[in-house]
Amino acid sequence: MADAATTGKQGMFFRSSFERNAQINGWMFVMPALVLIGMFMIYPVLWSLWMSFQVGRGMNLSFGGLSNFRRLLDDPILQRALFNTAIFLIVQVPIMLTLALILASALNSPRLVGRAFFRTAIFLPCVTSLVAYSVLFKSMFSADGVINDFLLWTRLIGEPIPWLLDPFWARIVIIIAITWRWTGYNMIFYLAALQNIDKSIYEAARIDGVPAYARFLHITVPLLKPVILFTSVISTIGTLQLFDEIVNFFPDGSPGDSTLTLSVYIYNLTFRFMPSFGYAALVSYVIVILVAILSYVQFLVARDRRG
């Protein structure tokens, strides 16, 4: 009895000691990652939250209470940036994802000759250097660039289109550029997911005489829904953070601020203009909140359809 009790106690002691060791070891293993995340993620996030209450020019900062929020509510530039971002989001993301989906199912066809070549060619834009392609696009879309020359030659247009000089066309150029760059990237996700769809489903549909477009709409698209959700979430986040293309295409500002995005505005507030670090930090929280809301909405939409 006593023996049993001792053994039991001993057993318990050993177990808890082992557990403590395991716990300590576990924490030790994740510690480097945690420290780094703390230093480079959590600390900056908290600090920027504190910063968003600061007002002042440059390094002369002081606590300003809610004055940055008041500024935020009556900011015509922020409204313009939100409007531009919304246009990119509503126009560009659906075009790109549809295009990627169509390309993916076309390139998935085993009958297509040179599949590997086309896959690589369409994926290639997203690994090209951003600066190189910006310079190239800028020269192609300049008033006397190859695009205008070609359109004039085909007599589709009577006079050159002011691609980079006009607010409307500037947006079109940005939409073309980011579609060109990121379509292949999204296509890869769809191609990977297509491999997981059972071929027998298509065979059965074909035997039942379902036409190709219906197979695409009623088999491919529903079965790819989780991937489509994923790509639309990352594309939304990417669009909200759109920055590099804009500053490389329009280093001194786009015509009429027609392609000014939230990220570019934050950059301007911090580095181009008289630095308002506090207000810039607050505007960056606008992006965070927008990303959170839009992602949540997209999840809701996808869940509803499933149910």
Binding site: R57, G58, M59, P76, I77, D252, G253, P255, F273, P275
Partner: protein, 424 residues
Amino acid sequence: MQNSFKGLRRAAGAATVGAVLLSATSALAVDVTVWCWDQNFNGATMEEAARRFQEAHPDFNLEVVIWDRADLEQKLQAQFAAGVTDGLPDIVLIEDYSAQKFLLSYPGAFEPLGEHIDMSKFAQYKVDISSVDGTAYSLPFDSGVTGWFYRTDILEEAGYSQEDLQDLTWDQVFEIGDTVLEKTGHPLFSIRVDSAADTRYMMQSAGSWYFGDDGQPNLENNAVFEESVEIYGDLLKSDIAKNVSGWSEYTGAFLSGEVASVVSGVWMTATVKSNPEFAGKWGVAPVPRLNAEGSINASNTGGSSWYVLSSAPEKDTAIEFLDEIWGGDADFYQKILIDQGAFGSLLEARDGPAFQASDDFFGGEPVWLNFSNWMQEIPGVNYGIFTYEVLSAITAQVGDLTSGDKPTPEIVAAISRQARQLTQ
């Protein structure tokens, strides 16, 4: 254990010796770094200055690093904000419009040069631009006295001689532009859709600026500003100006001979001269004036000054260098005036031979004397700290300015609203 300690000590010893050796060699040659933004202009003048300083100080070595002007300012701003001084230069060029922004936002970042160098040698207005509470922080560099650079051959083909281009208003310039376009097919100007920089000299020609005495935007109900915006809009709309985007397209248009003229600061001389094909075919007329009351045919665009960073490792050498050449060598100023069109601010240099000389590139005209005379007349204004914020507020309205759908007062109101937001 002992062995490893010995090894460590030996390594530390070697490192110390190495460090001592390194610092000894670096003490022999003094490397001073300068950041500026134009290889043909301010970069070239700095290199010339370094050559002259090296004659008496053979161990002096100057490294000139060229950035885009906006990039340079953004880089400075980022490093000041981060509190990191590694990799910053000893001397940096800052445009006059941004001077007060930097001095007020980053107190202590720049060396008060007025405490080391006698500032009475320089034009007072340049010293004032970089002064905070009576202390001067920069070594004044160039004036932005503005002229109308034009191609004499194209204007003559359209029937205009030098006399016809004196003391004009913008209305008259638009008429000339129509005739030139009709007779020669050349637009008169290139105009940037991404920068309203032209409104700067328009405003200053009337002694007005974007801000009132209280530093707040003074845009609505400001007749000078309204007229400047209107002219900028008219240029965007009109065929006499070719719409371009970016600096290189802007300068490329007149360098290639596509457009016939450019209104700019005297510093544009370096760019104009960079295409020798049109040597002898350029002339300089006074800047056109506004209809607004008080506007004259003299103004200023740009202009910049040298600043020494307080954190600079070679601060003392940099100050000595600036004082000796930029603050004392009048002959140096003659050379950079002829070669680069650098209209320096050292007063005694202005009596030198180059400032009286004629220039063959400009058809043998005494252009420097003209610039000198115009400079005496430039109306003084206080640039404040938000010039580029207002410029960006103007370009934000380029769509409405180009289409002409909205009346100017309405556009000015929109500019004013955005400017007030950005200048908080």
